[in-house]
Amino acid sequence: MTLADYLPIALMLILGVGFAAVMMLASWRLGPNRPTPEKLAPYECGIVPLQEPVERFPVKFYIVAMLFVIFDVELIFLFAWAVRFDQFGWAGIGAMAIFVALLIETLVYVWKRGALDWNVASRERYRRVVAPDAEVAPREAA
């Protein structure tokens, strides 16, 4: 591969960056900009915040994100199999069926444990099964 082969990619990059730059420049130059102190305040009414709020996402976001990552990446193996599935025959289909069945079992497990429930904290099942001791002080280290 010679450097010339990279030309389309370079052009694409220049076009992309250029388009974004032109748009931003245009809105900055052409748009009306008459600031007043009220307009610059974070909120038009209410108290000015003294500090940045601590960003604490509920853990359920992390759980869903983690589950997404894991299930998403596991599917790579399907691609490797799919490009040649006609050559693997029934043995290949059987192997993949087992693989997918394993994924489904995990999904069912995750589902039943309530990890996919968005409004999880309000459910009795959560308190009983997933976090029976969510707010209890930790036991003294042995």
Binding site: D133, R139, A142
Partner: protein, 507 residues
């Protein structure tokens, strides 16, 4: 595609068990069934290991007993070596599971997934014993370590458990990255993934800087896993912070898995590159023994002491590898070294599991792991103190308890080699055995000859509430019988010498 399902049976049974544990965990039945099913699965997986091992004498098959069953184009090999180690992994996991039953359930963090994770990890170890290509080895190794990160941090609310998990995780993933980079360089140079292919390619292509770096990085990745000095710094913190049954599991199964990887890689894949890994492992062995033992002397917490002791024991296990440092080493001597490592691994597994079982039983009672608090244990718990003496004497290498035979074969493997460097390593090992004897004896002395400390009301201890849980008793008996039988009849282990022949053959 013809698959030899008999050869795969241990893995298949264990895999089904893992799934069953996951399903049972969802059902509305008492939670201890997960442990029961896990235990049954481990024993069930042991059956095919036996039928494969004694295939001919049991009339199951026509192949001779030493025959290798080669599957998946050489990536997965079932031979005597792998069967012995599969047996070790299954047995050690069963004991670790027995240790966990009482301990983890008492904790407020009890969840059914614990046994799922432990069995997943054991499945990885069982696959690892048969892996004979880089990718299978890597996936199996990560299956061993992945679940143990979570097990180490099991007590979510305990900062020490958190610290243990985080340190272990960062170091574990770092070692995986180093290992993989080494593997990718080896692959890049040889163009082969299977160990046989790598060996043939290195013989044909000769040495190169790229290959040497690849081999060194691969082995260093394993040095993290077996916590060889100077890659040990995570070990004491993780061992101390994790729940003690998990520590027992880490120090036996996870560590042995690392050594199995080292064994198969060095003696098979990198067989032609002895002048690279011989000196490297020589240095690691000498450092691990010396540093591990010297720091262990200063410890006052028994779990931390066992942590450093396991680093030092890891050094002893590495000693036979150092025999390869000699340029004139013969095939027989390498077989002997291989045999010595496997023997040490087997005996180490039994005695270390036993030592941790005693520590768990004691910690349940005393609610303390400080050695000083264990003073006078024999006055109110003579049985426990006796077992403590048994396992620690075995770790120290006192005949007739198993440990001495491990040390014996370890010394003879390096002394048999006619080389100054090998002899020097043997001398270092002897000096270290003396140091190790001192701190193991210190624990025994504390339990037998010291006064019961004032901080623990002796009267309360004598009337002593909770007896040792049945599962823990079973584990204690199993390991105690193990160290005694192996120590008095070392021929049982020596018969495993066939092991060495199948793998190290060809020198």
């Amino acid at each position: 595609m013809n698959v030899d399902y008999h050869a795969l049976a241990p893995e298949i049974i264990l895999g089904i068990t893992v799934l069953a544990v996951l399903v049972v965990d969802l059902l509305r039945i008492p939670k201890y069934w997960t442990a029961v099913i896990g235990l049954v699965g481990l024993f069930a997986a042991f059956v095919p290991v036996l039928t494969l091992g004694f295939c001919e004498s049991l009339d199951f098959c026509t192949e001779p007993e030493t025959a290798q069953r080669v599957l998946f184009g050489g990536s997965f090999v079932v031979d005597t070596f792998s069967l012995v180690l599969k047996g070790l992994f299954l047995g050690a996991t069963a004991v670790a599971l027995l240790l966990s039953v009482g301990y983890i359930e008492e904790d407020r963090y009890w969840q059914g997934e614990f046994y799922f994770l432990m069995l997943c990890s054991a499945l990885g170890a069982v696959v690892l014993a048969s892996s004979r290509d880089l990718v299978t080895l890597f996936v199996a190794l990560e299956l061993v370590t992945g679940p143990t990160f979570l097990m180490a941090g099991w007590r979510k609310g305990d900062p020490r458990s958190n610290e243990a998990a985080l340190k272990y995780f960062i170091i574990g993933v770092l070692s995986a990255a180093i290992l993989l980079f080494g593997m990718s360089l080896v692959y890049g140079y040889t163009g082969e993934l299977t160990f046989g292919g790598i060996r043939a390619a290195t013989a044909a292509l000769g040495d190169s800087a790229l290959l040497t770096i690849g081999v060194i990085l691969t082995l260093l990745g394993f040095a993290f896993k077996v916590s060889a000095v100077p890659f040990h710094f995570w070990t004491p913190d993780t061992y101390q912070g994790a729940p003690i049954p998990v520590t027992a599991y880490l120090s036996v199964v996870s560590k042995t898995a690392g050594f199995v990887g080292l064994l198969t890689l060095s003696y098979q894949a990198f067989a032609e590159l002895r002048d690279v890994w011989g000196p490297l492992l020589w240095i690691l062995a000498a450092l691990s023994m010396t540093v591990g033992n010297l720091i262990a002397v200063r410890q006052d917490d028994i779990v931390r002491l066992l942590g450093y002791s396991s680093i030092a024991q890891g050094g002893f296990i590495l000693v036979p590898f150092g025999a390869a440092v000699a340029g004139n080493v013969t095939g027989d001597q390498l077989e002997q070294a291989f045999f010595a490592t496997v023997t040490y691994l087997l005996i180490y597994a039994v005695m270390n599991m036993g030592a941790f079982a005693v520590v768990i039983a004691g910690a349940n009672r005393l609610k303390s792991t400080l050695i000083a608090d264990w003073g006078g244990l024999s006055s109110y718990a003579p049985g426990l103190a006796g077992l403590l003496a048994l396992f620690f004497a075995s770790l120290a290498g006192i005949p007739p308890i198993a440990g001495w035979f491990a040390k014996l074969v370890m010394f003879s493997s390096v002394l048999g080699v006619d080389s100054g460097w090998a002899t020097a390593l043997a001398v270092i090992a002897v000096l270290n055995s003396v140091v190790a004897f001192y701190y193991y004896a210190k624990v025994i002395k504390s339990a037998w000859f010291d006064q019961v400390p004032d901080t623990i009301p002796a009267a309360e201890l004598r009337g002593m509430g909770r007896a040792v849980a049945p599962s823990l008793q079973f584990a204690l008996v199993l390991t105690a019988v193990g160290v005694l039988v192996l120590g008095i009849f070392p021929n049982l282990i020596a018969d495993v010498g066939d092991v060495a022949k199948t793998v190290a053959a060809g020198f």
